[in-house]
């Protein structure tokens, strides 16, 4: 019986990649188009320059009238059933007439927890594609590339009223954005599958507002680790920056014309000490449901997240805010993306 269990688990959790759906397949397709891929350099993600400056943004409180620090009541409790994350890798493979051809690889997966062990839920999503500005390319070459691999137009969302970008770095940045969009789409697609099939809480790495169905689901919790935008202004910022371990902020509502409104609050997972105001600070997103007792929900979700502080996510550089399940998911994706 033991042997059978072991055997069941050893079967691959993802389908083998098809022709052209691997890094090698992309390189082969480029060669097939008469181009010569150069030596692989650093990923575009590593080269990315800061696009927007940090900023503060006001938000509406949905839990009382003013921003306060609230001690999360009760002991941490295990409530998260699964973890969702996505990764991306983008590299310029060749420049053709000053136009960068970018290999973008994307993967997303849900790792479900059972008996304290994580395993793949459903089939992880993986994609390899060539991201290039189609309007700037020779149609024959594009057709030749499409015949051998997936091709994504990195200018598909470009405003037609604006002139086409020409700067290679600009074009590479747009390709990177397109890859990022693809990753987000994969994550949202998986989250949607989860909400459709499962009734237990799923923790997503990042925000949940990208897709309406997901943003409205009570089963999805978002954990945002970066704080380039702080959703507080004035004295309220002090409250957030001085949260102590196990404290959360008042819940607020985030809304924008392009995104579904969600409830969010800040939660200090670990004592910051002298390590800076953002150490151990997580922003949590959940669906905003009118008439709901947001205090009770924010407290419960906060207890779930505090329970996820162990095991520690070291050696990840963001270990102070990284939930181990998300890190494990990331490791899994790295493995299958390279497979």
């Amino acid at each position: 019986m033991l042997a059978m269990n072991a055997v069941r688990r050893i079967v691959s959790s993802y389908a083998p990649p098809g022709e052209g759906a691997t890094a090698r397949g992309i390189a082969r397709a480029i060669r097939g188009g008469g181009l010569r891929p150069g030596a692989a350099g650093a990923t575009l993600e590593a080269q990315r320059e800061v696009e927007a400056p940090p900023r503060l943004e006001a938000a509406t409180a949905v839990e009382g009238l003013e921003m306060t620090a609230r001690t999360v009541p009760g002991e941490p409790v295990v409530g998260i059933a699964a973890f969702l994350d996505g990764i991306q890798r983008s590299r310029v493979l060749v420049h053709h007439a000053g136009v960068p051809l970018v290999h973008g690889a994307v993967a997303a997966a849900i790792r479900v927890r059972s008996a304290r062990r994580l395993s793949a839920w459903s089939t992880p999503l993986r994609s390899h594609a060539l991201y290039l500005p189609v309007p700037l390319m020779d149609a024959t070459l594009v057709a030749a590339l499409r015949a051998n691999c997936a091709v994504v137009d990195s200018l598909a969302e470009h405003d037609a009223a604006q002139p086409l970008p020409r700067h290679p770095s600009d074009l590479a940045a747009r390709a990177l954005t397109a890859v990022q969009r693809e990753r987000e789409r994969s994550e949202q697609a998986l989250a949607l599958d989860w909400t459709a099939e499962q009734s237990q809480p799923l923790l997503m790495d990042g925000g949940i507002a990208g897709r309406e169905e997901v943003a409205r689901s009570r089963n999805v919790v978002g954990a945002v680790k970066s704080h380039r935008t702080l959703y507080v202004v004035g004295d309220a910022m002090d409250v957030i920056l001085h949260l102590r371990e196990g404290e959360r902020s008042t819940a607020i509502a985030l809304s924008s014309p392009r995104r579904t409104a969600v409830a969010t609050w800040y939660l200090r997972l670990r004592d910051a000490g002298a390590r800076g105001p953002f150490f151990g600070l997580l922003r949590v997103e959940v669906a905003l449901e009118p008439g709901e007792d947001i205090t009770a929900r924010a407290d419960l979700v906060s207890r779930w997240l505090l329970a996820e502080r162990a095991p520690i996510a070291l050696p990840d550089a963001r270990w102070d805010v990284m939930v181990y399940g998300i890190r494990e998911c990331e490791q899994y994706l790295t493995a299958i993306l390279n497979a």
């Binding site: 269990n5 050893i10 998260i80 162990a310 070291l314």
Partner: protein
């Protein structure tokens, strides 16, 4: 090759630049609960054909690794805030790996020999074990010659492991070495079990096989013909699976010298109920002098003394010897007669006036040799007789599947060496002439590190053991040696052992250079082996294999002495009665006492008369014994030696009466 493709997948082969696979080693990972351990045999199935053939590789697990995604233990300490109990509350267990290293047992096909490819890993089935250990070449068919050595058990697979008789008992390779710590390695049990297996499976067309076992300590081998007190169902099942009858040896003969007093045999198998197959082992001058080298100290006996000993062996022993120096002809057949001969020679040299040499031998040399030879019968009393009485192993009529136990446990070291040297030499001589009665003989010697030590003086016994180890297989003379420390046995002895068994080993021993080829995990397993487990090396096996064997179906020495307590030391008349009753059950203590009292012989003469009875085994034991005594009475009446008074025991005290 059987179709095993439908069997479950246990793991997958992995290789990295830092841990690459080679033709002789590979790595694989498994699920955490996979039934794999050190010693498990696995099969790798590659998905990439080589020259049109999908390779199959067999391997045995030699090392295991387990680790998590923790980069340093400090991270776990940090995560638990330094409180060990806090780690238990983590809702998720860390990602953990079970990574194993396996040593290749066999590639199929054998060529081209390439690094082990990526592929799926499966637990070996019984057929896989046969293929992996190349047993398929000698199991089944008309040339079957497998000797079961134990059961391989892992992950639900049970498979009989067989040794190749041609490589265990010759002629291709031979000899067996078994090592392990005393008491826990079950070395003697393993040899007893293996002998049972050999007797059950040695192909009849290869001739007869017998075993000569030297019992060098305690009662270890004293009850080989008695059934074990109890065998568990599991052990009986193992006997059945391995095709070996779970019963004691059917044909066992025991040989032991007399005690120094000569009343009874010096063996722990002295219980009255077990005397039927116990015989004395005694040698006279002729038998002893052939192996004088064993007993004489090389520092004392130089080339001149050697020359004199050779002269005695060739010109004096067992023939009529005359010399002008001696008054009368001498016929030297016993130690007593040899001493008289020396006395005459020395007296002759001293009385004549022509220097101190006789036939080129100086009188000092003669005195020294006399001194050394004369005390042999004292040093080996009980084994070597003054009067030349010989009771020996049945040279020329060894029985197929017979066991001959020579109990030397109570002998001095010199005497043990003598027994060992002579028995093995006789075996060799008879096997050379094909006159032993069987074609193969297994000689079992315990404490081999004492008889063939890696260092120390180059003794006659060690030279002989080296000779057996190096040339015995051509003759059918096979050495089964047991020792606590293999590293302390002469390397040519262990090096020539085709098969090696290891029970639980001493960790210090495992740290010696001879074990460097073993992985740390294999060594750790060896250091903790349970009783009844062995690691086996055999020429057909590419790597050592762990097996289990059942307890021997014979009474252990400890249980044997409890069930059959050794006889108390007997008085002379009782001892004689007991010996004669083996030949004629009608002999009673009262009859013996009467005989002795009437004859009035000395104690030595009575013992001599008894020994002649045992040696001759006459039809009419009483008459023969009486005649021996009368003969003495007659000769001693001339010398007027008085009778030795013996206290007559009352008839109702007769422990043998009725």
């Amino acid at each position: 090759m059987p179709d095993t493709s439908a069997l479950p997948i246990l793991g997958r082969v992995v290789a990295t630049e830092r841990k690459p696979n080679t033709p002789h080693e590979f790595h694989f990972w498994t699920a955490l609960d996979a039934p794999v351990g050190i010693g498990t045999i696995v099969r790798v199935e590659s998905e990439r054909p080589i020259a049109g053939v999908l390779p199959t590789i067999y391997g045995v697990v030699t090392e295991g690794f387990g680790y998590t995604d923790l980069q340093t233990p400090l991270h776990d300490v940090l995560g638990a805030d330094g409180v060990p109990s806090a780690s238990a509350f983590a809702p998720t267990e860390r990602t953990e790996i079970r990574l194993y290293t396996a040593a290749v047992l066999r590639h199929v096909p054998e060529e081209p020999l390439q690094p082990v490819p990526m592929g799926t890993v499966h637990l070996a089935t019984e057929l896989d074990v046969q293929a992996a250990l190349r047993m398929d070449s000698y199991l089944g068919g008309s040339s079957a010659r497998g000797i079961p050595v134990g059961m391989y058990r892992a992950g639900g697979t049970q498979a009989a492991v067989h040794l190749d008789a041609d490589f265990l008992l010759g002629p291709e390779a031979a000899h067996l070495s078994i090592s392990g710590v005393s008491g826990l390695a079950t070395k003697t049990s393993a040899v007893e079990w293996l002998l049972s297996s050999i007797f059950a499976h040695f192909p009849p067309e290869k001739g007869g096989v017998a075993a000569v076992c030297f019992n060098v300590k305690g009662p270890d081998l004293c009850f080989l013909d008695q059934p074990a007190s109890s065998l568990s169902d599991e052990e009986r099942g193992m006997y059945e699976a391995l095709g070996v009858p779970a019963k004691p040896f059917e044909d066992v003969q025991y040989f032991a010298p007399w005690t120094a007093k000569g009343y009874q045999l010096a063996t722990l198998r002295s219980n009255e109920a077990l005397q039927e197959n116990v015989q004395p082992l005694t040698w006279g001058l002729r038998e002893t002098l052939e192996y004088a080298e064993v007993l004489l100290n090389k520092d004392d006996v130089d080339a001149k003394a050697d020359a004199l000993i050779d002269f005695i062996k060739e010109r004096v022993l067992n023939q009529v010897f005359t010399d002008e120096l001696l008054g009368a002809a001498h016929e030297v057949r016993t130690f007593g007669e040899l001493d008289r001969w020396f006395f005459e020679v020395i007296r002759g040299i001293e009385q004549r006036d022509r220097g101190d040499t006789w036939r080129t031998h100086h009188i000092a040399t003669i005195r020294k040799v006399r001194n050394r030879l004369s005390n042999i019968s004292t040093r080996c009393k009980g084994l070597v007789t003054d009067d030349g009485t010989v009771s020996d192993l049945p040279w020329g009529s060894f029985k197929d599947r017979g066991v001959y136990v020579v109990d030397v446990a109570n002998l001095e070291e010199d005497a043990q060496d003598l027994v060992f040297a002579r028995v093995v030499s006789q075996l060799r001589e008879h096997l050379e002439k094909r006159q032993l009665g069987v074609s193969q003989v297994v000689v079992f010697v315990d404490e081999l590190n004492k008889y063939a030590p890696a260092d120390g003086p180059d003794t006659y016994v060690r030279k002989m053991l080296l000779d057996i180890a190096e040339r015995g297989r051509y003759l059918g003379l096979v050495l089964f040696g047991a020792q606590q420390f293999r590293s302390q046995v002469h390397r040519r002895v262990v090096g020539n052992s085709g098969t090696s068994l290891y029970g639980r080993m001493d960790p210090d021993e495992l740290a010696t250079p001879g074990y460097q080829t073993m992985s740390p995990a294999t060594k750790a397993r060896l250091a903790t082996l349970e009783k009844g487990q062995l690691m086996v090396r055999h020429p057909h096996f590419g790597q050592p294999i762990f097996v289990r064997f059942p307890r021997p179906a014979v009474l252990t020495g400890r249980e044997g002495v409890e069930r059959y307590p050794p006889a108390d030391e007997l008085a002379l008349d009782a001892a004689v009665t007991r010996a004669l009753r083996q030949l004629d059950p009608s002999v009673t203590l009262a009859w013996v006492q009467d005989c002795i009292a009437l004859a009035g012989d000395s104690e030595d003469d009575i013992i001599r008369a008894r020994n002649r009875c045992i040696q001759t085994r006459p039809d009419d034991v009483k008459a023969f014994f009486r005649a021996q005594l009368k003969k003495r009475v007659s000769s001693e009446s001339v010398t007027k030696r008085g009778p030795t008074p013996l206290r007559a025991a009352p008839p109702d005290d007769d422990p043998y009466g009725g």
